[in-house]
């Protein structure tokens, strides 16, 4: 029941925040903040009491859940309202709660019209995302996958910033919605195809994850169905040829929207790959792995190169996300335990660091009313504290040792090396590019000659607290990542076992490389 509450709290909180507008202007903000803090607390509580350590050498086929909640829903098709929590989903739900709190805080002054409705949308996005992380009935998963799009659309379309010539916020929002929705329908077709294949073999309709994992599929069918899932996730991740919506959506979205987009919406697709695409179709995923890793490499370089050429600070950060997600894709399809653990680590690290950078660019926008880097420069002298925070997050984003990003990227590269040495060798060059664009960002915005005189207001207590909290988390996970790795170890081991079964030789070698990683 606790799991249902995780979804219900933001949902009801959103309704309350909307109606709260009639009492006072700050009522929606406080309501939203309270509900997200509650979600975060519940997550921490679950983490404290739950046991997520991996069981030793358990070869049981069924996935193990720390918590589970199910209710018959549409028996005609064997659809259940089935939620479950394991280490991986707990980490991501907690991340959602944390970024939710930040999203509410960073809109405190930025959003000045339609406050109640804004928070309704914000909280409903979070409810949808938490639903995505918890649902293990494929119908329910798809439902949440779609539900989170509508409020995100409104968030960008109504509170976004219109850019120059043709880059209106409505256009960006529509683009975002169309990309994700159309690819989502492909996933629905694939889900149905899988369900009917299962029906044909066993005579039972079921959308349950554990049941569908056992579906016998011919190679071609599995390939097509897997592609349906893969495309849907690839659009959202985004993988390079399908990334068209991301820079626009990021640049046009309000700060809270960007934080949520980069911080958690992109993570839903990586989660989808880990939870569904790989375990449901291990052989087909294995066959696709070279292509997927190639696309990952392409993304790393494409994102990094384009980031170097951006003038808009938020577009720059958006392109760096593409680059970082390229690493995630490589790690996911390398499929060794170490690499998968690295993926989880990088997901969290990227969420924190990109959220930090977007928050900072939002704060700059509030002070300078521009996102164009050509109009910035020399802010180090004019602006207290904020440039220093920027430096920290930029350094985290380029993967400096001591930050969580380093741990994630290093584990991905190290873990993938035994499987695909050449790809790792090329991807490492991408880290060099990361240093270039990060320093470019720093140089253009904060160093160089100042364009105007006069000091700007430093961060107030709210802003300092947000940045400091994020920074501490980044450093803590960078210096002592073990608690996080322990939490997700069980899930990752499970994925690795399924994925690795198709290729035992490689499996053994990776085990040799990483004997007791994450215990």
């Amino acid at each position: 029941m606790m799991l249902v509450w995780l979804i219900l709290i933001p949902f009801l909180g959103g309704l309350l925040a909307w109606r709260g507008e009639t009492w006072s202007d700050s009522a929606p903000r406080w309501t939203a903040l309270a509900s997200m803090l509650l979600v975060l607390l519940v997550c921490l509580g679950l983490w404290w009491v739950g046991d997520y350590r991996p069981l030793v050498a358990d070869e049981a086929a069924a996935p193990r859940w720390a918590m589970e909640w199910r209710l018959a829903w549409i028996p005609r098709f064997g659809i259940e309202f089935h939620l479950a929590l394991d280490g991986l989903s707990l980490v991501l739900v907690a991340l959602t709660g944390l970024l939710g709190v930040l999203a509410v805080l960073c809109s405190w002054r930025e959003i000045d019209h339609g406050v109640g409705f804004f928070h309704l949308n914000l909280l409903w996005i979070l409810a949808g995302v938490i639903g995505v992380f918890l649902a293990i009935d494929l119908f329910l998963f798809f439902l949440f996958w779609e539900v989170m799009l509508v409020p995100m659309f409104f968030l960008i379309a109504l509170w976004g910033h219109s850019g120059p010539a043709g880059r209106t916020r409505i256009r960006a929002a529509t683009k975002f919605f169309l990309y994700t929705q159309a690819s989502g329908l492909l996933m629905l077709v694939a889900i149905l195809g899988l369900v009917f294949a299962h029906h044909a073999s066993g005579g039972v309709y079921s959308f349950d994850y554990a049941v569908l994992r056992e579906t016998p599929l011919s190679d071609t069918t599995a390939m097509w169905l897997m592609l349906g899932f893969f495309i849907a996730f690839a659009v959202k991740l985004p993988v390079v040829p399908l990334h068209g919506w991301l820079p626009d959506a990021h640049a046009q979205a309000p700060t809270a929207g960007s934080v949520l987009l980069a911080g958690i919406l992109l993570k839903t697709s990586a989660y989808g790959l880990l939870r569904f695409a790989l375990p449901l179709f291990p052989e087909a995923s294995q066959a696709l792995a070279p292509v997927a890793m190639g696309l990952g490499l392409l993304g790393i370089f494409y994102g990094a190169l384009l980031a170097c050429g951006q003038q808009d600070i938020k577009r720059l950060i958006a392109y760096t996300s593409i680059s970082h997600m390229g690493f995630v894709l490589v790690g996911v399809y390398a499929g060794t335990e170490l690499a998968l653990q690295g993926v989880v680590m990088l997901l969290v690290a990227h969420a924190l660091s990109s959220a930090g950078l977007f928050l900072l660019s939002g704060q700059l926008f509030e002070r300078l009313h521009t996102r164009d880097m050509r109009e910035m420069g020399g802010l180090w002298d004019r602006l207290p504290v904020i440039p220093a925070f920027t430096l920290c997050f930029v350094v985290a984003s380029l993967g400096m040792p001591g930050t969580a990003n380093f741990v994630g990227e290093f584990m991905i590269l190290f873990g993938s090396f035994p499987a695909v040495p050449w790809i790792v060798a090329i991807a490492t060059v991408g880290m060099l590019l990361a240093a270039i664009y990060s320093l470019l960002l720093m140089q253009r915005v904060h160093f160089g000659r100042a364009r105007e005189e006069g000091r700007l207001a430093g961060p107030d207590r709210r802003e300092t607290a947000m940045m400091l909290g994020l920074l501490l988390l980044v450093l803590w996970l960078g210096l002592y990542p073990q608690p996080l790795l322990d939490t997700s170890a069980d899930t990752v081991a499970d994925i690795e076992r399924l994925f690795g079964e198709t290729d035992t030789g490689r499996d053994d070698s990776s085990r040799a490389q990483a004997p007791v990683e994450g215990r």
Binding site: R76, T174, A182, L186
Partner: protein
């Protein structure tokens, strides 16, 4: 021979027909708007109750009609949709300059026709029902005949509908020439292996019915008629008329093998309907025209159910039909409310809806829910419908149709989103059109809010709908 049971089984239809007489006599005696509306609603309500009484006895067959699960199910929704139309028509006609009471007369007659149509098991009742449904619709669409557009809508519908009827009759004649029978069972028995003539007969009937369903390429009348007709009349046309015609087509396809031979044709029609409907809707800036094109696209999706005839056809078709019906009624209901009371012009242009959310949050919410449902976004009932249709296509492995649905939905989203975002943009200070201040306390307001709740409730918990259809199918087997 007509027995007492038969008479009882036909009671719902008879009650509606009797209400026609009562309202007519009432108008002859004294012209009163509200009582006329109340009597009409009461008649429809009584008929709904009669349906409840009849349902345990089903299926009952008379020589011309059959009261089976499908007929009862369709009649229930016809009556509900007619009630919804009346709820909105009453306030709308409050400002109407000419005589108001005849609208109810026409609406009741058309409802009778629709009920006969869905219960027909004979080409004679099929034809009678269809005409009884269509004739009053001409009057309803041209009800504001001193307005050029309304008159144009009525006449356009009349002419094209007559053309459609000619095709239908020709098709019936061909089928009769082949088999010598007019009842569906007889047609099914004697045309087990349909020849060229039987197939062409079926195809011509499909053309005739396709006109009423506005399937591409027989759709040309739809946008003009939607735009010109008074909003409550359009509501009725979009819901009751299309539902009844689709049900009878479904009956034909399920019963008569000659229609199943047209699977390929139906698939092609489905594909072009969903693509053309959605593509043409993209360019619309008039909400009623946009809904007209969207309805063309929706009947494209619905034809998928007829192009894939298997055990799930009936269930899929009816689920989708209900999802379309509820959402369309809600969306057109909001347009009606915005144009209430009648003042010669309607709030149809998209820019009239700018900022509706900041003026009338709940009304805009209703429209949002209905449009999301039409776009097939969960957790609305429209998603359940889309789920069923895609499931049917995937199960039958008709990948072209599935691809068409996916593509059509993606295109469709674009214009639904455009309308949606308009509702929430900051609007003008002095809007030209607005719903009445107390809309939510009037019958029309209750109707649209009820429809929106239905869209959401059935979207989250579709069991009642699915179970009622399981009952319909169980009855079919019995």
């Amino acid at each position: 021979m007509l027995t007492a049971t038969h008479l009882l089984a036909l009671m719902p239809v008879i009650l509606v027909a009797a209400t026609v007489l009562v309202v007519m006599l009432g108008i002859a005696w004294r012209r009163r708007h509200t009582p006329a509306a109340l009597v009409t609603a009461a008649g429809l309500g009584l008929s709904l109750l009669a349906l409840l009484l009849v349902s345990p006895m089903a299926p009952i067959e008379t020589p011309l009609m059959v009261i089976d699960g499908l007929a009862l199910f369709a009649m229930t929704w016809i009556l509900l949709a007619a009630l919804a139309s009346i709820g909105l028509a009453h306030a709308y006609l409050g400002g109407f300059a000419g005589p108001r009471e005849e609208f109810y007369l026409l609406l009741l007659s058309a409802t009778t026709g629709a009920m006969v149509l869905v219960a027909s098991r004979h080409l004679a009742t099929l034809f009678l029902g269809l005409e009884l449904l269509s004739m009053p619709l001409y009057g309803m669409l041209a009800y504001a005949f001193h307005e050029r557009r309304s008159l144009e809508a009525g006449i356009k519908y009349l002419v094209l509908s007559a053309a459609g009827t000619a095709f239908l009759l020709f098709g019936m004649a061909l089928l009769y020439a082949q088999s010598g029978r007019l009842d569906l069972a007889g047609l099914a028995a004697s045309l087990v292996e349909p020849g060229v003539w039987a197939l062409s007969g079926a195809a011509l009937m499909l053309v005739g019915l396709g006109f009423k369903l506005s399937i591409v390429p027989f759709h040309l009348w739809t946008p003009d008629v939607y735009e010109g007709g008074p909003a409550p009349a359009v509501m009725f046309l979009a819901s009751v008329s299309k539902l009844a015609v689709f049900v009878v087509l479904l009956r034909l396809v399920l019963a008569v093998p000659a229609f199943q031979g047209l699977e390929g044709v139906m698939g092609a029609l489905a594909l072009i309907s969903m693509l053309v409907g959605n593509l043409l809707a993209l360019a619309q800036s008039n909400l009623k025209r946009l809904l007209a094109y969207s309805s063309i696209a929706h009947f494209g999706y619905l034809l998928v159910a007829l192009a894939v005839v298997n055990g799930a056809t009936l269930e899929t078709g009816m689920v989708y039909l209900v999802t379309y019906l509820v959402a369309t009624l809600g969306a057109l209901g909001v347009i009606t409310l915005m144009s209430t009371p009648w003042r010669g012009e309607e709030a149809t242009a998209l820019h009239e809806y700018r900022g509706l959310f900041w003026r009338r949050p709940f009304l805009a919410g209703v429209l949002t829910v209905c449009l999301l449902s039409l776009a097939g976004i969960p957790p609305t009932i429209g998603f359940i419908g889309k789920f069923y249709i895609i499931a049917l296509g995937v199960e039958a492995e008709r990948w072209w149709l599935v691809a068409g649905i996916v593509l059509g939905s993606a295109i469709g989203l674009y214009y639904y989103l455009r309308v949606l975002v308009t509702l929430y943009l900051p609007g003008p200070r002095m809007p030209r059109f607005d719903a009445p201040e107390d809309w939510h306390r009037r019958a029309g307001g209750l109707v649209v809010v009820g429809l929106a709740l239905l869209v959401l409730l059935l979207g989250v918990y579709p069991i009642p709908l699915i179970e009622s259809l399981e009952w319909v199918m169980a009855m079919k087997r019995a």
